[in-house]
Structures are given as C-alpha cells and as structure tokens.
C-alpha cells in the first residue's frame, strides 16, 4: 500500500530483472535455510537413532539369555551309588583346625561320589537307546548340576533312596543348538556337539523334557568356568553393591563437606583457588588414571588386597568426589542469600545457619548429584581392571575384603569367553542388568528432583 506508493517507478525491464534476481537469490537462500535445518534435524535423528540402535540391539541379543534350555526330569538318588559316611561333628579336645581337616576329608568323599552316573541314569530313562553311550549323554546337562545334587544330599541326607522331580540346566552347547545360535547346516567337524547328542536334544525338546524356562541362574550364581550354562552374575552384583555402598559412605559425606566449606566458609585466597582449579581438573582426569593411583597407592604402598571391593570402592570414591562436590556447590549457590541472612539476623551462628537452613533446602539437589555420581561409578570398568578385579572369582564375596569382580568387569570377562555364541547373549543379559540398575538409580534421582525441587 504505502510502500508501493513510495516506490519510484523505474523502467519496467530493469525492475523486472532485479526482481527476478532477488527472487532467485531468495529461493537459493531459502533452499539453504531448509537444507541447514534438515542437516540439524538429521543430526538429532542420528543421535536418537543411535540410542535406539544401542538399546534395541542389546535387548534383542540379551533377552533370550534369560530363558535357558532346562531338562525337567525325575532323578533317583540311588543308594548303590551314593555311599558316604555321616558328617563329622566336633569331638572333645579337638582344635577347630583339626575339625576342619576332617570336614574337608568328608566333603572330598561326598564330592567323589559318581553324581554324573545319577544324572546319566535319569536321562537314559528318557532315551533308552543312549544307554550304551554314557559319556555322550552326560553332555546334555551342564556339568555344574552334579554339584546341585551333591548339595541337596549334604543338606538333606534323607534324600538318598528317594526320587525327586528336578529342573536341571542343559549344557551351554545344547542351549546354543536349540536356540539356533549356531548354523545347523554346518558339517559335524565344526559343530560343538556330536551328531547323536544333537539328535537327542531335538528329541527331548520335542517331547517337552527339555524346555526353555526362565532361569534365575543368572541372578543367583557366581561366575563359573567349568559349567558355563550356570555362570551367573551374583558375585559381580554383590561386589558392585559393596563398592556402591563404600562410594555412598565415603564420597558423599566428604564431597558435601568440602562443597560446604568451599561455598560457605572459605575465604577467597590462593589456597581455595587452588582447591577449586584442582577439583575442576580432577573431574576431567581419565578414569584409568585413578586405577593407576589405586594400584600404586592402595595396593603397592598400603599393601591392601588385590581384587577386593574395598580397594575398588576407595578408587571409585576418589573418582566420584569431584562430581559430588560440583553438584553440591551448584545447589548451594542456588539457595538465595536471604535465607542465610534471615537466620544470621536472629542470632544463629554460621554453622547453625548451614545445618538448620541451607543444607535441608539443598538436600534434594545434593542427593540428585550424589546418585548420578554413584551411578557413574558403578558403570566404570577401566580403573577396576588395574587393581586386579578382573580375576576369575567363583564365589559370592561375603565381605568387602574378599575377592570379587564387579558388574562391568564381569561383562568385560564374558565378552572375551571362547564360547562366543553362548556368551554373546549372556554378556548382553549382563549389560541389561547393569543398565537396569543404572537407569533405576537415575530415574530415582530425577524423581527426587521433580518431587522436592524448589524454584526461587
């Protein structure tokens, strides 16, 4: 309207030319705009896609591992095969060391019983044609299950001569075969099982003697080398829990205390500047350096035990400390000074102000930071490898001073197992457990923040 009127009236051809040029350039610029926007969007989509790919591939590989091939059969505790003395009891005048000696001898005797024969008998009851090939039959059930029978008898000697319905884990190779994780058309030489065992496995699977059942082995057993199908995460999980506990007990109080000092008390001088720079740098030191610190200081100088969760916990605590300090400081900074002034104004001391007013208000933020720090710490692998936590440990640690592994280290150990087509799924299952633990910790932190966060 006005603009059109204000425009002068140049010769029509020149104006047209200019308009065409402007429009062309506008089109080009708008295309560039759309292109730029599209690149941005595809970057976001790429990021989201990677998250999805990561999680979906892990879930797809790992979930089947929670269901394991299991032989459901009746077992006869044959008194002809199981011949053991009664368990030794303490005699008067015997030292505990001597009693333990006799106890060990008895346990050796119990272990020497031919438990395999009992397992074979119960399988041959289903497969009469296999009676002539006992060593082959045994390959159906994982070798650790004979200790299950032994433990049942040690627990309850009355079982001898009885029959019991049991669920026995099938061998890892049988599990791989039945799940189709190995190419069924491979020639015999490349198969992990002899042809007749494969045929028996198929046969039993069809008849429902072997079933895919949800297996708790992964959660209740420690790692195992001889009996791969019953290798579990319990030892590593308990080790990780100990370390988590140590991190919570050490890093959180110390971190909060130093954050309170730096934020509320510290005068601005060289020394506190040094601490500040130092904490910022410590937060970015690679985790493996903390492992070297642990190896040199805790193990070499202090002579602490290798592979113990206590050392791992200490190393992870030092690593988590800067995270807790930084999170706590930013929470303390966000609390308005008016609250401190009000408390100081009615005669509270500085310590009272902090303990009674500032810290309670900062608690949700501090907890959130602490939980995120702890979650990071339990996912850490590299420093633990350097303090010997990658040793094979076939027991659930009873105290933080016992040998143990940790969840991420167990993942590292399993991914390197030779039986790839069984352990790939098992490793993914372990990753699912680790991620579930970390995600629930993070979700708890987010819930805390949502629930208690105050905006000033």
């Amino acid at each position: 309207m006005d603009i059109q009127q204000a425009q002068p009236n140049p010769p029509a051809a020149a104006s047209d030319k200019r308009r065409v040029r402007v429009e062309k350039s506008l089109q080009r610029r708008h295309r560039a705009e759309r292109r730029f926007r599209f690149i941005g969007m595809s970057a976001v989509v790429f990021g989201l896609g990677m998250v999805a790919l990561l999680f979906i591939s892990i879930l797809a590989k790992g979930l089947p591992a929670f269901w394991q091939a299991t032989v459901v059969t009746e077992v006869y505790f044959d008194p002809e095969i199981i011949r053991v003395d009664p368990r030794p009891v303490a005699q008067p005048g015997e030292s505990p060391a001597q009693l333990r000696e006799r106890e060990m001898a008895w346990q050796t005797q119990v272990t020497m019983v031919n438990w395999n024969r009992i397992l074979e008998d119960s399988l041959i009851a289903h497969l009469p044609e296999a009676a002539s090939a006992r060593p082959r039959v045994r390959q159906l059930v994982t070798s650790g299950e004979r200790f299950k029978l032994r433990d049942m008898v040690v627990e309850n000697p009355g079982l001898i001569g009885q029959r019991a319905q049991l669920k026995l884990l099938a061998d890892a190779n049988v599990d791989v075969w039945l799940k189709g994780n190995i190419d069924r058309s491979l020639p015999d030489a490349q198969q992990q099982l002899p042809p007749e065992v494969r045929a028996w496995a198929d046969q039993l699977y069809e008849r429902g003697v072997i079933q895919m059942r949800f297996s708790t082995t992964l959660f209740v057993n420690p790692d195992s080398r001889g009996s791969l199908a019953s290798a579990g995460l319990a030892g590593a999980f308990v080790g990780s829990l100990y370390m988590m506990l140590i991190v919570i007990l050490l890093a959180v109080p110390v971190g909060v205390a130093s954050a309170v000092y730096l934020e509320e008390f510290a005068p601005r001088n060289r020394f506190t500047d040094l601490i500040e720079v130092n904490i910022n740098n410590l937060a970015a030191v690679p985790s493996i350096i903390f492992g070297l610190l642990g190896a040199a200081v805790f193990i070499n100088w202090f002579g602490m035990p290798l592979s113990a969760p206590i050392v791992g916990g200490l190393v992870l605590s030092l690593m988590t400390l800067p995270t807790v300090i930084i999170a706590t400081r930013s929470t303390l900074k966000a609390i308005p000074p008016s609250i401190r002034q009000a408390a100081l104004g009615i005669g509270a001391s500085k310590v009272q102000t902090i303990l009674h007013h500032v810290l309670p208000l900062a608690l949700p933020g501090i907890l959130t930071g602490a939980i995120i720090g702890v979650a990071q710490a339990i996912g850490e692998t590299a420093p633990l490898l350097l303090i010997g936590m990658s040793a094979f440990v076939a027991a659930i640690p009873g105290t933080p001073f016992d040998q143990s592994t940790a969840l991420p280290v167990q993942i590292y150990l399993w991914q390197g197992n030779e039986l790839r087509n069984f352990f790939e799924a098992r490793t993914s299952a372990a990753i699912i457990v680790l991620l579930a633990l970390m995600l629930s910790l993070n979700a708890f932190a987010i819930w805390l923040r949502k629930r208690f966060e105050k905006r000033w």
């Binding site: 976001v44 790919l53 892990i58 205390a257 510290a266 493996i288 070297l292 610190l293 590299a382 350097l386």
Partner: protein, 457 residues
C-alpha cells in the same frame, strides 16, 4: 573385644556424655545467669571431649600395633630361624597367628612355634588391655574435665563449631591430596621405570615391543611411545570427526529451531548416551559396529578389519556426541539475543544468522567444548580395549587395528602386578603422559570457556 564393638561402646559413651552435658547445662541455668551457648552445644562439647582423645588413641594403636607385635615375636624366635626371608617368614607368621588365635593348625606345631604363639597371645592380651584401659581413662578424664568446665559463660558453641570447621577443611583437602597422590605415585613409579629405559627411547621410540617380564632380565624389549600415541590420536580424531558435526548440529537445532516439546523430549534421550557405561559401547562396537563395517567394506571391495581404529573411533564419537551437544547448546544460548535480532533485522535468514553471527560469536566456547571432548576421547579406555584391535604398529591406515596409550596401560597392568619390572612400570610412565596431555587440554579448554563466559556476562 572386637574393634567394631569397641567403636560402638565409644559411640554409646559419647551419647551418654552428651546427655550428661545437656543435663548439667540445664541445671546451671536456674533462671539466674544468661547462658552463652545452648545446652545442645554444652552436650556436644562434653561428648567431643569424651570421644575424640580416646578415638585418637584407638586409631594410633590400630595403626602401629601389628608392626610392633610382629617385631616382638620375631625377635624371640630361635637364632637359626632368624635368617628366614619373604615367603617362608609369612607362612611362619600365619601359623603362629593361627595357633595364637586358638584355631590351631592341622599338623603338630613345633615347640618354637608354640612359644612364639604363646608370646604373641600374651602380648596381644596385655596390649589390648592397655589400649582399652587408656581409652577408658581418657574418655572418663575428658568427660569429667569437660563437665567441670561447663559454666554459663563458656563459649561452647564456638568450640564445637571450630571442630566442625576443622572437619570441613580436612574434607576439602582430600581432593588436593588425591591430585598429589596421582602426581607423586605416577612420577615415582615412572622415574623407577626410567632407570631401566632411557626417557629419550621412551618418548621418541617408534617400536613398541615390551617382552614378557617372565623371560628373564636378559632382554628388555623396546618401549617406544610413538605408535601408541599415534593410535590414540588417530582414534580421537575419528571420534571428533563423528562427534563434532553431529553434536554441533544437534546443539544448533535444539537451541534455534526445535519447538519446546522436541527439545524437552530429545535432549534427555540424547544425554542418555553420556550415561551409558563405556564397556557397553565397547561391546556394541565389537558385536555390532565392527562386523557391520567389515561386511560393508567387503561390499565395496575394501578390507576393513572388524576391530580397527575406525570402529573404535566411530563408536567413541557416538559416545561424546552429548558432551559436545550439551556444552555447545549452553554456549549458543548464551549468545545475546540482540546479536541475532540485528542480523535478522538486516534481512538475513535464520541459517545465515546462525552461520555468520551466532557460531562465530560462540566459536571460542565451542572450541573449548571440543577440547574437553578430545581429552575425554584420549582418556577413554574400554571402547578401544575391545574394538581397536590392539596392534601397536606405526601406520596411518584407519582401517587397520591400532593400539592406544590406555589399552597398553590395561595390558601391562592386568594380571600380575610386579612393581619391579619395567613391563609393569611402563604403565605409570604411560599414565603420566596421558595425565599431562589431558590436564593441559583441560586447562586450556576451561580457560577458553571461562574467558568466553566473561565476554557475554
């Protein structure tokens, strides 16, 4: 008595002391005098006086007792046993301890062992008694002394708070001690290493071939840092080539284009990538990405190893996307709105504004973010351990396997740690190098970021 029980008893005693203190403090008031401090503070002061000295004794005792006892027992062993060394000595001590504790040993103990155990037991008994007695005396004395000092004018609050403050200072020096510990332990062990290997050979050597330590001291092997350093640099460059464009464009899109709900949804999901443990990325690289690259390479006629610098670098790049995107996002949103408005007002399109105004203004901050990400990539361990193939040879082909500084640290220190062989000690020299590199990157990056913040604040 068990140590835990002892500590618990001490805590209970402190609880009682606290009660006594507050009670006495209340009885002091009687409406006459004005109290300087509240009963709580009087109670705490009494409890501290009761507990702290006794606890100090306990700590010192637990620290020094085993060493003293050991030397006392060893001193009175028969002279022919005095020459025992190392392992045999440990076995003997273990046996003596186990006899002394009443657990016994399964075979017949020798007479001198029984005598030593008897001595150990009596020393342990008297030592324990002496410790408990001195702790009790100190606790009671402290309690009585503090109770007698209580008066309306006593500045108990100040005393208690002084202790609290000391505690806070001690806690905040732990961070410093950690750094000192890192530097000292690395420098110490690295110097140890440089007694075996010339530093020049280490820092400028081009061959990495550290023989196994068990093959004897005859040959040392070659400890050249350069192949490892080059592997680290190559993997990090590939990671940054993936992460910088994706992260930066993500940040730009999130900050400038995305509607609120997309931002609220996509940002936390992408940040999940930063929280996933690195071992999971390593497994992902080994099982998914590596084989994918290998078969993709076969399809176009390229020989790509499944575990190569490329695999490790790409997966590491995915890992550091959220670092770059969230740091750059913060920095881009800090660019003043007036600058954007000026550019838009002149008729620039949004993307022109971003490319010609916002990004140049944000450049220092983004460079800082990239440097931080680079230091993260250089120090990253598990991805390269699993996916880089571990071959410490100097070559420039990213499709081949490489080895990095971190991988080598893990390889040299996993399993038996022998702090006397250069094969183990080299890990500390490598660690020191790594620490120096990441530290300088961090310092530069933090300096740049801070400068940038000040510019627009």
């Amino acid at each position: 008595m068990n140590n835990w029980v002892l500590v618990c008893v001490l805590l209970v005693a402190m609880g009682f002391a606290y009660q006594f203190g507050t009670m006495r403090s209340r009885s002091l008031v009687d409406g006459k005098a004005r109290m300087h401090s509240r009963p709580v503070h009087h109670g705490l002061l009494v409890a501290l006086w009761c507990g702290l000295p006794a606890f100090t004794v306990f700590l010192l005792w637990s620290l020094f007792e085993p060493g003293i006892l050991r030397s006392a027992v060893l001193n009175q062993l028969p002279p022919d046993m005095a020459g025992l060394q190392g392992h045999e000595l440990e076995v003997l001590m273990r046996r003596v301890q186990s006899i002394a504790s009443g657990f016994g040993v399964s075979d017949q103990p020798a007479a001198y062992e029984l005598a030593a155990a008897e001595r150990l037991r009596s020393l342990q008994g008297t030592g324990r008694l002496a410790m408990i007695a001195s702790m009790a005396v100190l606790a009671v004395t402290g309690l009585v002394y503090a109770l007698r000092r209580l008066s309306p004018a006593l500045r108990a609050r100040n005393h208690v708070e002084a202790v609290f403050r000391v505690l806070l200072v001690v806690c905040s020096t732990i961070a410093i001690l950690t750094t000192i510990g890192i530097v000292l332990s690395m420098v110490g062990e690295a110097l140890h290493f440089f007694r075996f290997v010339n530093p020049v050979d280490f820092f400028f050597g081009t061959v990495w071939n550290p023989r196994f330590s068990t093959t004897g001291a005859g040959e040392l092997g070659q400890f050249g840092l350069l192949p490892l350093l080059w592997g680290t640099v190559m993997v990090s460059i590939i990671a940054l080539l993936v992460a910088v464009p994706v992260g930066l464009m993500t940040a730009v899109f999130m900050a400038e284009y995305a509607p609120g709900w997309v931002r609220a949804l996509a940002k936390p999901i992408i940040e999940v990538l930063a929280g996933v443990p690195t071992i999971v990325y390593g497994f992902f690289a080994l099982v998914m990405v590596g084989p994918f690259f290998h078969s993709a390479g076969l399809a176009v006629g390229l020989d790509i190893r499944a575990t190569s610098a490329l695999t490790a670098g790409v997966v590491m790049g995915i890992m550091i996307i959220p670092f770059i995107s969230s740091l750059s996002d913060d920095i881009i949103t800090q660019v003043p709105k007036a600058m954007r408005d000026g550019s838009l007002g002149l008729g620039a399109t949004k993307s022109e504004t971003i490319r010609k105004v916002v990004l140049p203004a944000a450049l220092p901050g983004i460079v800082g973010a990239v440097l931080l990400a680079a230091s993260r990539a250089i120090g990253e361990t598990m991805i390269v351990v699993l996916a880089a193939g571990n071959s410490p040879i100097l070559h420039a082909n990213p499709l081949e396997a490489v080895s990095t500084v971190t991988v080598t640290i893990v390889n040299q220190l996993t399993g038996d740690i022998d702090f006397a062989s250069p094969q183990s000690l080299v890990a500390f020299a490598l660690g020191l190098t790594l620490f120096a590199i990441t530290l300088s990157l961090n310092i530069v990056a933090l300096y740049i970021v801070r400068k940038y913040r000040e510019q627009y604040e």
